[in-house]
């Protein structure tokens, strides 16, 4: 089945030039958007609509750092999804729980500066984890094509990083909601 990279005819890499992908998405939308096919025969409208949906879905998957990693792993036969991945590192789990507690406290105290401090730290971490994932994918894809390190080790490292990214993203989502409320 065609995945997001296939749909947009892109090289399967984690480190994507999102600006270029967005431009490509726009170009394809110009061809496929239903408004372009208004008044055309139904067969044509259906064909355009289903492809427009696929292209939109592909762009949505690739611009999300978590889903982009999932697409790449699935491509390499690694099952993803929160119930199918190994349980996260206990130390990370503990750390994230503490961070979330700190956030909950700041929220209860309506302490916006504290919320923002926590967010800044987490944004730095978000960037770091994404860099690590980009590097990890390069190594993993090298490893699968016959290198020295065991691909399973690389894979598990990637899954750990992906798990961490999920925590980080969820945290940042919560920050956003708090900011809307308190801001």
């Amino acid at each position: 089945m065609a995945d997001a990279f296939d749909t947009l005819e892109l090289q399967p890499e984690y480190d994507l030039d999102l600006g270029a992908v967005e431009a490509l998405h726009r170009e394809l939308s110009r061809t496929l958007h239903p408004d372009r096919h208004a008044g055309k025969p139904a067969a044509e409208r259906r064909a355009a609509l289903s492809r427009a949906i696929e292209v939109n879905e592909a762009w949505r998957a690739l611009r999300d750092p978590v889903r982009r990693a999932e697409v790449l792993l699935t491509r390499h036969g690694v099952p993803v999804g929160e119930n199918r991945e190994p349980v996260g590192d206990p130390a990370l789990l503990m750390e994230m729980m503490e961070q979330r507690e700190a956030l909950a406290e700041a929220r209860a105290a309506r302490d916006l500066p504290a919320v923002r401090r926590l967010a800044t730290e987490m944004r730095a971490r978000d960037a770091a984890v994404q860099s690590a994932l980009a590097l990890g994918f390069v190594e993993f894809m090298g490893a699968t094509s016959g290198a020295t390190v065991d691909p399973a080790v690389r894979r598990d490292e990637l899954l750990r990083k992906l798990g961490e990214l999920r925590y980080v993203r969820r945290f940042l989502e919560e920050v956003g909601e708090i900011e809307d409320l308190l801001g």
């Binding site: 170009e27 939308s29 496929l32 208004a38 044509e44 259906r46 289903s50 427009a52 939109n56």
Partner: protein, 658 residues
């Protein structure tokens, strides 16, 4: 459904309609520029008020307003706030002079009905009466009108959109498209001023609030995020003022009591109507002056004085403005931008005329809103532009809009499994897999909801359906795949398949709130005194036009992509096309033509897919080539863009003029 008779001498002209809470406007593109048409009131703005008199008399617009205090329950204003809503909606309990029909069943309670004396009307019917009046004005001026683009608040949910579309069809209009109001405003503004950049559209109307963040880039209007409240607007300000007026008149503050009279000290509908109308006048006056004084009849005789200053009004409406502020911050966050990154704030809606609204917007975005836009007309103008673009098949403008509210399915515990998040670019699709939870479970209920809340009961219920006929299996074995499709109008369709058996069910999301095609047709026959025969004659004429159009498109496709057809496929297409040609020439019934159209549709289905794949590949290849060219050419690209824009502008006027 195309109900206008085709007249080859005068090509039907596409129109755009802003169906507003307070006022409605119809516009069309003349000589390349959108202009609002004069309504039956002699002005561009038609008050969205309908009076239902005796013997089926219907009065729309300013003349209907004069009945508001005399016959308040027969005069429906702000009907938009009830569109697509049920009797359980909090809207029903707000201060107003409406008399609602007590629903006879749970089914009936899904749609509000107004008791207007002789009969009762639904919000869809009232909206259709407003649209019919606009349609008539447009026909008087343009002779034949073609398709229509109707605008809706970006934050309207599926049920509200469905109901709006139904109203259009009921009014006998061919609804080409539902367009989000902020996007329409941006379209009109962007094309007029040739602006590029990141814009915020702050749209505070009579009953709805939208905030949309979008990018304008050489004819591309890409919505980044949208947010709002489909029950927040000038009406709410009027109610706050009316509450004070009622107290001044000697009544208890109405608060949340309805105008129906069930509360102990509820003022009569005539008084409520007078208070609301006075409130509106006070509000308008305070945009120009800093203090307003009113004399009103006092309960039990004599007169009462009511005084309100602008400062008092500002304080009164601040809680409402803070609700807009929260939505703005969320939209900015969803778009991933800081307020300082916004190049311009476009104000839409009559409520944005108020000084405090303007200063509040300025506080949020840290900049003065753009001043050269008519907040009342810009949405209808955008709708007219979009209608012309659709009919002329222009490819220089592209509108990429988003889903305003997340779509999900209720889970076992009453939670929501989010299938498509808000701000997903449309058209969009997603699927979700569910498993059975009990042994030998043969049916599966799916409850589709829309909204951001954690619990399904707090979200908007869109549809409930049951997939039946699953063969008995142990729990967790049967796997149900639910597909969601959201089209360019933000309308939803759902399909469910049981994966082990392949049992499939297509779900019409329509019947829960909207109307079926049959219902619309029945109502049309009743409404326009034409009867069955006339309708059949129209359908036959419409079928011929549609068939011709399809044959033309098929011929064009045969000329460009004949290589994508296998020999036997080509033969099938030629056969089906010949049959359609024959049907157009000789058929006496519309169904014959429709049958031939369906046959040609089947014959061209796979081919259409292959042609679209080819177009996609060409677009991808073209993009790559373009990127290389852009790097080499450098500054020459700017000229090309400007030239492309000239073409876009030149291409906009519809043929014919008027």
């Amino acid at each position: 459904m195309l109900l206008d008779i085709y007249d080859p001498k005068a090509p039907p002209k596409p129109i755009g309609i802003d169906l507003g809470t307070t006022n409605s406007i119809v516009a069309h593109v003349r000589d390349g520029r959108p202009v609002a048409l004069t309504t039956c009131d002699g002005t561009a703005l038609l008050p969205s008020i309908v009076y239902y008199g005796d013997h089926g008399a219907v009065v729309v617009g300013a003349s209907a307003r004069s009945y508001a205090t005399r016959a308040p329950t027969r005069t429906i204003a702000s009907v938009k706030r009830f569109v697509g809503r049920g009797m359980d909606d909090p809207q029903i309990r707000l201060l107003g002079a409406y008399r609602f029909v007590e629903p006879a069943s749970a089914e009936a309670a899904r749609t509000v009905r107004f008791d207007v004396g002789e009969r009762s009307v639904s919000p869809v019917e009232v909206s259709a009466d407003i649209l019919r009046s606009l349609k008539k004005s447009a026909e008087d001026q343009l002779k034949a009108i073609g398709g229509v683009v109707i605008t809706v608040p970006a934050y309207f949910d599926d049920a509200q959109r469905q109901a709006t579309k139904d109203a259009g069809r009921l009014a006998g209009l061919e609804v080409l498209r539902l367009l989000n109001e902020p996007t329409a405003a941006a379209l009109a503004y962007g094309l007029e001023t040739r602006s590029n950049g990141l814009f915020a559209v702050f749209d505070l109307g009579g009953g709805t609030f939208d905030i949309t963040i979008l990018v304008l880039d050489d004819g591309v209007f890409q919505v980044r995020s949208t947010g709002g409240d489909s029950a927040l607007g000038g009406d709410d300000m009027d109610r706050l003022i009316a509450d004070r007026i009622l107290v001044a008149m000697g009544f208890a503050a109405a608060g949340v009591s309805a105008g129906g009279g069930e509360a102990v000290d509820a003022p009569p509908a005539e008084v409520v109507s007078l208070a609301l109308e006075s409130a509106r006048r006070v509000k308008h006056a305070l945009t120009e002056v800093t203090e307003s004084l009113l004399e009103l009849p006092r309960r039990g005789g004599g007169t009462a004085e009511f005084r309100l200053t602008r400062d008092e009004l500002d304080a009164l409406i601040l809680p409402l403005l803070e609700r807009t502020g929260r939505a703005c911050r969320r939209a900015l966050r969803d778009a991933g931008v800081e307020p300082s990154a916004i190049d311009g704030v476009i104000l839409v809606g009559g409520s944005t005329r108020m000084p405090r609204v303007r200063s509040y917007v300025q506080e949020i975005f840290g900049q003065e809103p753009l001043g050269d836009i008519d907040p009342d007309l810009v949405v209808a103008c955008g709708a007219a532009v979009q209608a012309a673009l659709l009919v002329n098949q222009s490819d220089e403008v592209l509108l990429l809009d988003v889903l305003p509210l997340s779509l999900g399915v209720e889970t076992m515990g009453g939670g929501v499994d989010r299938v498509l998040p808000r701000n997903t670019t449309i058209p969009a699709g997603a699927k979700s897999v569910f498993t059975t939870f009990a042994d030998d479970q043969t049916g599966f209920e799916i409850h589709v909801v829309q909204g951001e809340r954690e619990l399904a009961q707090d979200c908007r219920s869109l549809a409930r359906f049951t997939l039946k006929g699953i063969p008995p299996m142990s729990a967790g074995m049967a796997r149900l795949e639910v597909h969601f499709y959201v089209d360019e109008n933000n309308l939803l369709a759902v399909r469910a398949v049981e994966l082990t058996t392949g049992i499939e069910q297509k779900i019409e999301v329509v019947p829960s709130y909207g109307l079926t095609d049959e219902q619309i047709e029945d109502m049309l026959i009743d409404a326009i005194d034409h009867g069955d025969e006339d309708l059949e004659a129209r359908r036959l004429a419409d079928g011929r036009v549609e068939g011709q159009r399809i044959l033309l498109a098929t011929d064009k496709a045969l000329a460009t992509d004949p290589d994508l057809l296998a020999t036997e496929e080509r033969a099938a297409v030629d056969r089906a096309a010949a049959a359609l040609r024959e049907a157009i020439a000789g058929a006496r019934k519309a169904s014959t033509i429709q049958g031939a159209i369906a046959e040609l549709d089947r014959a061209t289905h796979d081919w259409a897919g292959r042609r679209m794949d080819r177009a996609m590949k060409a677009a991808i290849a073209g993009k790559r080539l373009g990127d290389v060219a852009a790097e080499v050419q450098g500054a020459a690209g700017v000229d090309a863009h400007v030239a492309a824009h000239e073409i876009a502008r030149a291409g906009r006027p519809p043929p014919g003029g008027s």
